[in-house]
């Protein structure tokens, strides 16, 4: 197989006993995904995973936006590790790609410049009274999902196959930049052909789409999105990717980074508003899934339990293709049948409402 080189870089991933660090963005935009991850590992696969209520944000967004200094973030990271050790774990897994990059960067810095490590040890002690302990392994949660992909395949209720045609679904995988572009060795498959999501897709019956702008950043880029003046640049990146993948007519996009999944989904709506272009075979957008949502669907989870109603792009066409049963009426109903509101439709031409956002110039 030509893609063999995608598997070239491999890394050691622990089989069990994970210390789970959450993602700021995902808790807000994809709360169902983190829950699904814990459920899949804990309940379906029976793996020991600890979701520690004491841990905090890694402050990565602040760091990349130049508001959190290096010493601070190192101390925060050291505290997370200390919490892990105190909880009796040594395999640190992070739900966020930004955090994953931060942890790797901090560990590499400590190794290259031991004085920074000593300084952090002191700060940690002074600030929290905790001791610095290094984890035995660091992995991203998508690495963990990849690691257990075959076990999930064995338990699959659905496969990434169009049940009407029997054809494999065409899946675009998008890897967060900080997964392997900072340290190629930190990602499965390296930076050029990361295999982490492709491995899951292939294990679960789908076809990976390799399109020209596959490597390109989604455009989040922290300051590029956070500062409104730069936001046009941010959306231009997603636009470039969507333009490039469109000819391949993908059935859905799967991403392993909080920002990417959010942007590739939400920008489709913004692009539709700005350019009148809606992507996807039927002009209804290309659904964007997290890998937990993808795994959840494969394992037969209810899509609304997974939080897929939070997406801007409707996922129903995909669910229909996969033959996943769902309650159309219950989509926007929360606990106790309460209406939770719904996002604007991506296909803007179908939208009757006309709204103007008041944005200060």
């Amino acid at each position: 197989m030509r893609r063999a080189s995608w598997q070239e870089y491999q890394k050691d991933i622990a089989d069990d006993k994970y210390y789970y660090a959450r993602s700021c963005i995902r808790q807000n935009f994809f709360p169902g995904s983190e829950k699904a991850f814990l459920d899949i590992l804990g309940k379906d696969l029976g793996i020991d995973i600890f979701d520690d209520p004491l841990h905090t944000s890694c402050t990565g967004i602040g760091y990349h936006s130049d508001v959190v200094p290096l010493e601070t973030i190192m101390t925060v990271v050291a505290r997370q590790f200390a919490l892990m050790a105190e909880a009796g774990y040594e395999n640190f897994i992070s739900s966020c790609i930004t955090s994953f990059g931060i942890y790797n960067e901090v560990l590499a810095t400590w190794e290259e410049f031991p004085e920074t490590k000593e300084r952090t040890r002191r700060y940690l002690k002074e600030a929290t009274g905790r001791e610095l302990v290094l984890p035995r392994s660091i992995a991203h949660t998508s690495d963990i999902m990849f690691h257990h992909r075959r076990a999930i395949a064995q338990r699959a209720k659905h496969r990434l196959v169009n049940v009407h045609t029997g054809e494999p679904l065409r899946v675009v995988e998008h890897i967060g930049c900080h997964y392997a572009k900072i340290f190629p060795k930190s990602g499965i498959g390296g930076s050029e052909f990361p295999y982490v999501l492709a491995g899951m897709i292939e294990a679960w019956g789908g076809d990976v789409v390799d399109y020209p702008e596959r490597r390109h950043c989604c455009g989040f880029g922290f300051r590029n999105y956070l500062v409104q003046a730069n936001r046009g640049y941010s959306i231009a990146n997603s636009h470039k990717k969507l333009e490039s993948m469109a000819p391949y007519r993908p059935d859905f996009i799967v991403a392993n980074c909080p920002g990417c999944a959010m942007f590739l989904d939400k920008w489709q709506y913004a692009i539709a508003e700005m350019e009148g272009t809606t992507y996807g075979a039927d002009g209804r957008g290309i659904p964007v899934l997290t890998y937990e949502e993808m795994a959840g669907l494969v394992l037969g989870y209810d899509p609304w339990e997974l939080g897929m109603q939070m997406h801007q792009v409707d996922v129903e066409p995909l669910l229909d293709k996969m033959g996943v049963a769902y309650d159309r009426e219950a989509k926007y109903l929360g606990r106790g049948g309460k209406y939770i509101g719904k996002p604007a439709k991506v296909a803007v031409n179908c939208d009757e409402e006309r709204r103007i956002y008041q944005i200060k110039r």
Binding site: R3, S5, E8, D210, Y211, P212, R215, Y248
Partner: protein, 340 residues
């Protein structure tokens, strides 16, 4: 009795050294890993800067070796070397009065520059593949059609710390110019873009050929290294680079991407050097005794170098150096046996 010299490697350097030693009444023995003499030049179509067919240069040398009845161990690999002979993998030992290391270089494996998708995308080929295609008489895309736009990328596996090859392979620039001209001759309406970091035209006639490629053949030279290549839906290659001379990123789709692969130190250099306590330079090639007066001598008496074993060299340089090696070896033997 004639003095005997074992030459490790049956490429141009080894053969030329053998011929010149033979002419001096010394008995050369060639040990070649391949089953045929000739080395990598055998795959080459035409030589820069004169477009001389490679066989016009190589064939007379091979014929010379055969007609001089020089003993050749073909398909035999040398495991260890010493001033008094070599040991083959078969543990057979060949005694000699001196040894010449003419093991040449190893081509850079283009797979290692993953971002260019060699072996993955159907129309990404190396300069060596292109020569082979030209030798077979037809250059086409994977689907058999003619390329209309071709990119040639310089310095693949040269001057690149990311693949631990810091040195310049010296001959790729002029090869890129030569191949661009050959492609334009084959496909006059095609656009050829050479992406380079520096153009190093060190030899006689090279700069002139470069200018001819630019002005007469309208080859586009873009100063900038391609950062990544990706296959498009119709099997073309989308490439990204910076056009550093305009200071702007540049992107385009080409039908064919030719990677000018560099020369690396021979992959056996480490083990051979270890067997005889020779030095390996940081660039992976053998380190000669000194670069000026002892360029073909090793640190050990009785072991000599010829050709690209010590550094990337053109064929002309290799042949010239082989002559120097032969005379140095002859003088060494003369001195050694007459003063004893």
């Amino acid at each position: 009795m004639a003095k005997r010299v074992v030459i490790v490697g049956g490429g141009p350097a080894g053969m030329q050294t053998a011929l010149e030693l033979k002419a001096r009444g010394i008995e050369p023995i060639i040990v070649e890993r391949d089953v045929e003499l000739g080395g990598k030049v055998r795959d080459w179509h035409k030589l820069f800067p004169s477009f001389t067919p490679a066989s016009d240069v190589l064939d007379p040398i091979i014929r010379g070796v055969k007609s001089a009845k020089i003993r050749c161990f073909l398909g035999q690999e040398v495991r260890a070397i010493a001033p008094d002979g070599v040991t083959l993998r078969s543990e057979e030992r060949i005694h000699a009065d001196a040894v010449v290391v003419a093991t040449g270089f190893t081509l850079f494996d283009a797979h290692r520059k993953q971002e260019y998708g060699y072996g993955l995308y159907s129309n990404v080929i190396t300069s060596v593949d292109l020569e082979r295609m030209m030798n077979n008489g037809r250059v086409t895309l994977a689907d058999g059609s003619e390329p209309r736009r071709i990119a040639i990328l310089h310095c693949v596996g040269s001057r690149d710390e990311k693949v631990c090859q810091r040195h310049c392979s010296k001959v790729c620039c002029i090869t890129g110019v030569k191949q661009a001209i050959e492609l334009k001759q084959m496909f006059p309406t095609a656009d050829v873009f050479n992406f380079y970091m520096d153009i190093r035209m060190f030899g006689a006639g090279y700069e002139e050929l470069y200018r001819e490629a630019q002005q007469r053949y309208n080859v586009h030279f873009v100063r900038g290294r391609i950062s990544e290549a990706a296959q498009t839906i119709n099997d073309r290659i989308q490439i990204k680079a910076e056009d550093t001379l305009t200071g702007r990123p540049l992107r385009m789709t080409v039908d064919m991407l030719v990677l000018l692969v560099g020369m690396n130190g021979n992959r056996d250099n480490e083990s051979l050097a270890a067997s005889a306590s020779l030095n390996i330079a940081p660039n992976g090639f053998f380190e000669p005794k000194d670069s000026f007066r002892g360029a073909v001598c090793s640190q050990r008496e009785g072991i000599f170098f010829a050709g690209a074993a010590t550094a990337p060299k053109s064929l002309a340089d290799t042949l010239a150096e082989a002559s120097m090696t032969a005379s140095t070896v002859a003088e060494y033997l003369n001195h050694k046996y007459n003063t004893r």
